[in-house]
């Protein structure tokens, strides 16, 4: 297991890992975390089940936020680096639709941890993580194998592996707890995560794994991208798709294993998938998406660990995931192109433009029937479209503000019904709208061979998105340069 030897090898020495971590999160530390001299009281919870929350004092708040405290510094740096690496590696897992596979393999690490402890009675971290990695990889291979069994679909394979491996882990775990040697206490942290327990050695391990994970993504960027987009084409072009998939899963295992302590196996999948899903809202470029996912993951890790350091009774893993969830929610709502709010605004604006064009066309057709300046009673307009009175009133107000109809409705006839007519500016625009509509109808009849009776509706649906370039093209095709073409269907006067 690479991570096991990482802290001993000269390349991934503790100081190197520490320096990388500092660089990775761009936090300027005057010196690497030295002795714990300036740490009078570690901000660690006594037990994960201790749910009482104490609010931090102002002094503690400042100390936490400025990373003065040595333990806090290790924890925050550890989760930040972890978040960044999980975001980057998770992006490809997300694009390859391996979110649930990641979840299953995280659960499959538990029997490895418990078995190593049971057999050797060791709490040596690299040994435990090596066990976790081993059963995690076994879980992945089991899923791959199950998928080739007839009548077992992918979701079933994932469900089987997740539950069976996790069940095995829980069974072994209960045996461990019955031993009551006093040394098994920390094992629960692998399930729920306890970032506050991170020490310097863990930080080195996390940094080395993060470096390896990100380097793996950078190195195999081309291959991962090809397999994620079009695995069939990749296979036909001779790329060993299963091997590339396994490589990707190996990177996911690597990140998962070092994240076990900090986040816990239940919530790791969130750190892998949520930053990637959030990043997707902001960009259409894969490279940018990778960077953003790393940034979001780091941000979630940093804020989550800081908050949990300030309120030490909150489990760090959960807080980190909640922070990632908030980032996702903000992206979902606020992203400029793909966000929900932006989409809503676009739809509202299109609907308004369409309604206004319908109004103008109805008035233009009225003028066509009864001459310039002809007015259309408000009640006729209500009948013309499925407009409610309130909607029509709002629509008229918008037309008035744009100067397309007179600012006040004239009242005419016996019933003193409000009538609407066009202003000079409105007439110009209304005629353009009517002309586009008729051009489009003509095009549909002549070029697309649609029965005239169907044309009105089809033209209605599409004319509102016509660009000037398309209209110019239509004019050329139909040679109707200036005049408004006559309505092609019998009841052309109808709205």
């Amino acid at each position: 297991m690479t991570t096991g030897t990482a802290s001993r090898s000269p390349i991934f020495s503790a100081s190197f890992g520490r320096r990388f971590a500092a660089v990775a999160v761009a936090i300027a530390l005057a010196a690497g975390p030295s002795a714990a001299a300036d740490a009078p009281r570690p901000l660690a919870p006594r037990s994960i089940m201790d749910t009482s929350v104490t609010w931090p004092s102002a002094a503690e708040l400042i100390r936490g936020l400025t990373l003065r405290d040595y333990n806090t510094r290790v924890v925050v740096l550890g989760t930040t680096v972890l978040g960044a690496a999980a975001g980057v590696v998770g992006t490809f897992a997300y694009l390859r639709r391996r979110a649930l596979v990641g979840d299953a393999l995280a659960h499959a690490t538990l029997p490895g941890v418990a078995a190593v402890f049971l057999i050797w009675g060791t709490r040596n971290l690299p040994a435990l993580l090596a066990g976790a990695a081993l059963t995690g990889v076994l879980g992945v291979l089991a899923m791959v194998a199950l998928r080739h069994v007839p009548r077992i679909k992918e979701d079933a394979a994932i469900g089987i592996v997740l539950s069976v491996f996790f069940g095995a882990g829980m069974a072994l775990f209960s045996i461990v707890q019955q031993q009551r040697t006093g040394r098994e206490a920390g094992l629960a942290n692998f399930i729920y995560g306890k970032a506050a327990a991170l020490v310097q050695q863990d930080l080195s391990l996390i940094s080395a794994a993060a470096l390896l994970g990100i380097a793996g993504i950078a190195l195999f960027y081309k291959e991962f991208r090809l397999v994620c987009f079009d695995p069939q084409f990749a296979a036909a072009a001779g790329w060993p798709v299963p091997a590339i998939d396994l490589l990707l899963m190996a990177l996911v295992v690597l990140i998962t294993v070092v994240a076990l302590q900090a986040v816990g196996l239940i919530l790791i999948v969130a750190l892998l998938i949520i930053p990637a899903a959030a990043a997707r809202f902001w960009t259409d470029r894969l490279a940018v998406m990778l960077a953003l996912a790393g940034l979001f993951g780091a941000l979630a890790g940093w804020t989550g660990a800081t908050i949990s350091a300030l309120a030490p009774r909150l489990p760090t893993g959960a807080v980190i995931v909640l922070c990632a969830g908030i980032l996702f929610g903000l992206s979902l709502l606020g992203a400029p192109q793909r966000g929900v709010v932006a989409a809503l605004l676009r739809r509202v604006s299109l609907r308004r433009r369409v309604a206004l064009q319908h109004l103008l066309r109805a008035l233009a057709e009225q003028e066509e029937r009864a001459g310039d300046g002809a007015a259309l009673p408000w009640t006729d307009l209500l009948r013309a479209r499925a407009w409610s009175a309130a909607a029509l009133r709002r629509l008229l107000r918008r037309a008035q503000r744009a100067g397309l109809v007179p600012p006040r409705l004239a009242r005419e006839g016996a019933g003193q019904i409000g009538v609407v007519r066009l202003t000079a500016a409105g007439r110009v625009q209304a005629r353009r709208v009517l002309r586009n509509h008729r051009l489009w109808e003509l095009f549909l009849i002549r070029q697309a061979h649609i029965a005239p009776s169907h044309v009105h509706r089809d033209a209605d649906e599409i004319e509102h998105v016509l660009s000037p370039a398309i209209i110019a093209e239509l004019e050329r095709a139909l040679a109707a340069r200036d005049a408004i073409p006559r309505s092609p269907h019998a009841n052309g006067a109808a709205p």
Partner: protein, 275 residues
């Protein structure tokens, strides 16, 4: 079909012996059978594709047209038989073979531009871990241009129309610079402009002596587009020059009861000019 054919007898269709995968044939298929979960979907396929031709693979739904292509490319395992490209197995001829999968087979919401996708056609010529070079991207741009898509190089692929997406796939295959192409329903659901762009490309490929095997659905346009046609329905009903193969009798055999009156009428109209 299954009895060993003695060398002296004159079979209806020349069957190559196992050793006889001719070197000059872009694709030669011998005795291919493909099965999904023990249910055979392709039986005893024997076929030698002539070079420099456009070859249509035509047959009803579920006839195994896509499976035939996928089996040739090693994407589904063969229950029996062998496929050779210019006399050599596929793993030694990958650069000679280009592939256009069905457009629906990928998620077009993937974060990539049209140029990114076309550049993937060059990946097969690059070693592991090395990114595409500038001249690969230049070539990809040139391929997009050949399909009239130069203006869309930087467009996110989800914002292309169906026909434009299909053209991106064809440009990617073009970027593979292959000698023989497999295309899975390139004409399915595309607009008229794309259809003519594709057929223009196919004819340009043929003019360069390259070969294309194209899964096709539309009986009406098939005789117009293809020099050779393979009528397929689990086995080869007939294969050869379009004029000889595309007969009402063969079509009836291929489609059986499934040839609707509509398709018969379309076929009659298509043949109306030249009985």
């Amino acid at each position: 079909m299954n009895e060993p054919a003695p060398a002296q007898s004159a079979p209806a269709r020349p069957r190559p012996t196992y050793a006889d995968h001719p070197d000059h044939a872009p694709v030669s298929i011998h005795d291919m059978t493909v099965a999904y979960h023990r249910r055979p979907v392709l039986w005893d396929i024997d076929y030698v594709a002539p070079e420099g031709r456009l070859i249509g693979i035509v047959g009803p739904n579920g006839a195994g047209k896509s499976t035939l292509i996928r089996a040739c490319l090693g994407l589904v395992p063969l229950a029996s038989g062998s496929v050779r490209f210019y006399g050599r197995p596929y793993r030694r001829q990958r650069r000679a073979v280009g592939y256009v999968p069905q457009r629906e087979s990928v998620d077009w919401d993937f974060p990539a531009t049209a140029l990114d996708v076309v550049t993937m056609g060059r990946y097969g010529r690059l070693p592991w871990c090395l990114p595409p070079r500038r001249r690969d991207r230049e070539f990809a741009r040139h391929c997009l241009d050949q399909l009239g898509m130069a203006d869309f190089a930087q467009r996110q692929i989800s914002r292309l129309s169906g026909g434009q997406q299909q053209r991106v796939f064809l440009a990617r295959a073009l970027a593979q610079e292959a000698r023989v192409y497999f295309m899975d329903e390139p004409f399915a659901g595309v607009d008229a402009a794309t259809e003519s762009a594709i057929i223009e490309l196919l004819r340009a490929l043929r003019a360069q002596g390259r070969t294309a095997l194209i899964v096709h659905h539309d009986l009406q346009s098939a005789p117009e587009y293809f020099d050779e046609i393979m009528l397929l329905n689990l086995r080869i009903i007939a294969a050869g020059p379009t004029r000889e193969v595309f007969t009402p009798v063969n079509l009836q055999k291929t489609y059986g009861g499934r040839l609707t009156i509509l398709e018969q009428a379309a076929e009659a109209v298509a043949r109306g000019g030249s009985p």
